[in-house]
């Protein structure tokens, strides 16, 4: 019998097979790896922005804040006419009065686009998510409407859609039975980048005075970063460590 010979032949053929398989694998994998590395190095030069807002409450009158709310409604097509507790409110006017001295303030309140958003932590399906540029959104396709994010949000920034919707706008798709909130006008940000102006800011900013300043918090040279460095600002519930992307001046 020639078992030895068979074994040798078998080993040799196995070796050839392994070589061929190895070569094939290398041919398939290497370009992918190279492409991946190229992609990585292309990104390495760019810094990921983190979009945020600086709201100067000293520069905002009550009418200004109303204008913010109306501009947001027009931009995204949400309504809150009858003051019902089930109406969505992406942005709202909050009136504050100091308990000790009665000093009054009015400010616009919306999603604070936290760096560590509790709504994203608690969402069971991952529908609540934070984009790489820091904008916190709800994926309307995977939101199951459990409202746990609304329980977890420290700012009461989110609304649940309690009623069937009509007349939706293309830039802001919404859906009954899901949760929504301020998108930081993500459609404008994706179009205009650092030059974007959210609808609320557009409604109140004049040439000489930007009551609501949008910009890249990660860029030390951006106008928002420079102003944040130079003036005293407050981030709401900073004690929670959620690192909001919205800062208030004059609070």
């Amino acid at each position: 019998m020639s078992t030895d010979l068979d074994d040798t032949e078998l080993q040799s053929s196995r070796r050839r097979f392994m070589q061929a398989a190895g070569a094939l694998a290398a041919t398939v994998v290497v370009p992918g790896v190279l492409l991946y590395q190229t992609g990585q190095s292309a990104n390495a030069g760019e810094r990921t922005p983190r979009w945020g807002l600086l709201i100067d409450t000293n520069a905002l009158s009550e009418a200004d804040v109303d204008a913010c709310v109306q501009a947001c409604q027009r931009e995204h097509g949400w309504h809150s006419e009858d003051g019902s507790r089930t109406d969505a409110q992406w942005i709202r006017k909050v009136r504050l009065s100091d308990k000790q001295n009665g000093h009054q303030r009015v400010l616009p309140m919306m999603c604070q686009h936290c760096a560590e958003p509790p709504c994203v932590d608690v969402c069971p399906t991952g529908a609540s998510f934070k984009r790489a540029d820091g904008i916190v959104l709800v994926n309307k396709h995977t939101c199951i409407g459990c409202r746990y994010c609304m329980m977890a949000c420290p700012y009461q920034a989110r609304s649940f859609i309690h009623e069937p919707l009509r007349d939706q706008l293309p830039v802001a798709p919404r859906g009954k039975g899901t949760v929504e909130s301020c998108t930081l006008c993500v459609h404008r940000v994706d179009r205009d980048g650092a030059n974007a102006v959210p609808a609320c800011a557009e409604a109140v900013n004049r040439n000489d005075r930007k009551a609501i300043l949008f910009g890249d918090l990660n860029d030390p040279d951006s106008e928002i970063s420079q102003r944040l460095r130079s003036v005293g600002t407050t981030r709401l519930r900073a004690d929670l460590g959620v690192d909001p992307g919205v800062s208030y001046q004059g609070l």
């Binding site: 507790r85 709202r92 649940f160 039975g177």
Partner: protein, 397 residues
């Protein structure tokens, strides 16, 4: 160790059995219809809103889920802690645990804004979410308790029922911990944000589950005219008293911890003194009728041996349970978020204002539908599976 008790399906053809079965089926169907109506119309027809986002359906659902874990008490005592006198009740205890959990989950699912997206919930997991853990804990509970039940019922595999019982015990403690932590991990809300909610929910599960179990045990024995010795009831009675005291201890500890820090005084004043319906539910229904009165019924010599006394105690514990969960879930959300400490706050979105909530009939129907589904499953299982001992006599233990 006692000899194995003999089990049998309930064979009753009494009008009471079929009457109850039909009643529960009808209520379950009404619940599903109510959920469908909520789904079509949207949640604006309920009392829930953007400030009180979880309402009566969640009170019912969490009651059933917590009670499901507790219904397994007697099986755990028999399998894990070697209390063989409870062994005859272990099978029914496991069946009831599954039935209650299924009823609770049905409510939670049907109350979702998009119940049609169940498949999304089962395929997209965010593992940082305590809710996502709970989806795994709840479905795992059903699987584990089913396996445990099978091992208890299959004579040849009975030696495996002890490890299965241990797994089921560990799992159900995790499940109640997870359920309590849904609230305990909400750091931004003064009403929650406490690790104490996890052990509180565990002791709540012990008492609520035992109360439901005892009532159904008495009911099913009565339906089938089986013999039930008082000594068994004495043990259940003492256990119930113990568990109610444990709840009182954790409730006191929870509020004392909050009361110690000045920052939480406003919240405590709301719940304990000025919260209107929540304060009333807390002191009168939860503490008075749901805790102190059952303790009296269980331990006072006058009622110690009375079966109606035990039934009343169990019913009161359940009433108190609903009050407690209503105060925790709805009352906790009604207290406004403290976004601007030191300021009086006012807005069109009700910042700084006590939340308002009135349960709608739809929510009541959905909640009762879940309870009825659980009872329907339990009653059907009693008829088709040998899970109830033929008799509970003093000699058997």
């Amino acid at each position: 160790m006692s000899s194995n008790p003999r089990y049998a399906e309930i064979r009753t053809s009494s009008p009471q059995y079929w009457g109850l079965l039909s009643l529960f089926a009808l209520i379950a169907i009404i619940g599903i219809a109510a959920a469908h109506h909520m789904d079509v119309e949207g949640h604006h027809i309920t009392g829930m809103n953007n400030q009180i986002v979880w309402g009566l359906p969640h009170v019912f659902a969490i009651f059933l889920i917590v009670a499901a874990s507790g219904a397994l008490n007697l099986a755990s005592l028999a399998s894990v802690f070697g209390k063989y006198e409870y062994k005859p009740l272990a099978r029914f205890s496991a069946v009831l645990a599954i039935a209650l959990l299924v009823g609770g989950l049905a409510i939670l699912l049907l109350d979702l804004g998009r119940p049609d997206r169940l498949i999304v919930a089962m395929t997209h997991y965010n593992f940082k979410s305590i809710f996502a853990w709970n989806i795994i804990l709840y479905s795992g509970f059903v699987v584990i308790v089913l396996a445990y039940l099978w091992l208890m019922m299959e004579q040849r595999l009975q030696h495996w029922s002890r490890p299965a019982g241990m797994l089921a015990l560990a799992w159900r403690l995790s499940l109640t911990t997870g359920t309590g932590s849904i609230f305990g991990f909400l750091v931004a809300r003064e009403a929650y944000d406490s690790a104490l909610l996890a052990p509180l929910f565990i002791v709540m599960s012990f008492a609520f589950g035992l109360a439901v179990f005892t009532l159904l045990l008495l009911l099913s024995f009565r339906l089938d005219r089986r013999e039930l010795d008082g000594s068994h009831l004495q043990r259940l009675r003492r256990l119930l008293g113990l568990f109610v005291m444990a709840i009182l201890y954790f409730v006191a500890l929870f509020h004392l911890t909050k009361l110690y820090g000045t920052q939480n005084h406003a919240f405590e004043r709301f719940i304990l003194l000025e919260g209107g319906v929540y304060t009333g539910l807390f002191w009168i229904v939860q503490i008075g009728f749901g805790s102190l009165l059952p303790l009296l019924l269980v331990f006072a010599p006058r009622w110690r041996d009375s079966v109606p006394g035990l039934v009343l105690a169990c019913a009161l514990v359940i009433v108190g349970a609903f009050a407690q969960l209503y105060v925790i879930i709805v009352g906790g959300q009604a207290f406004p978020l403290n976004i601007f400490p030191g300021y009086l706050v006012e807005s069109s979105f009700f910042d700084g204002a006590i939340g308002s909530y009135a349960p709608s009939p739809w929510e009541v129907m959905l909640g009762l539908g879940g309870v009825a589904s659980a009872l329907l499953i339990a009653l059907l299982c009693l008829r088709v599976l040998p899970i109830l001992p033929q008799q509970l006599t003093p000699e058997q233990h």
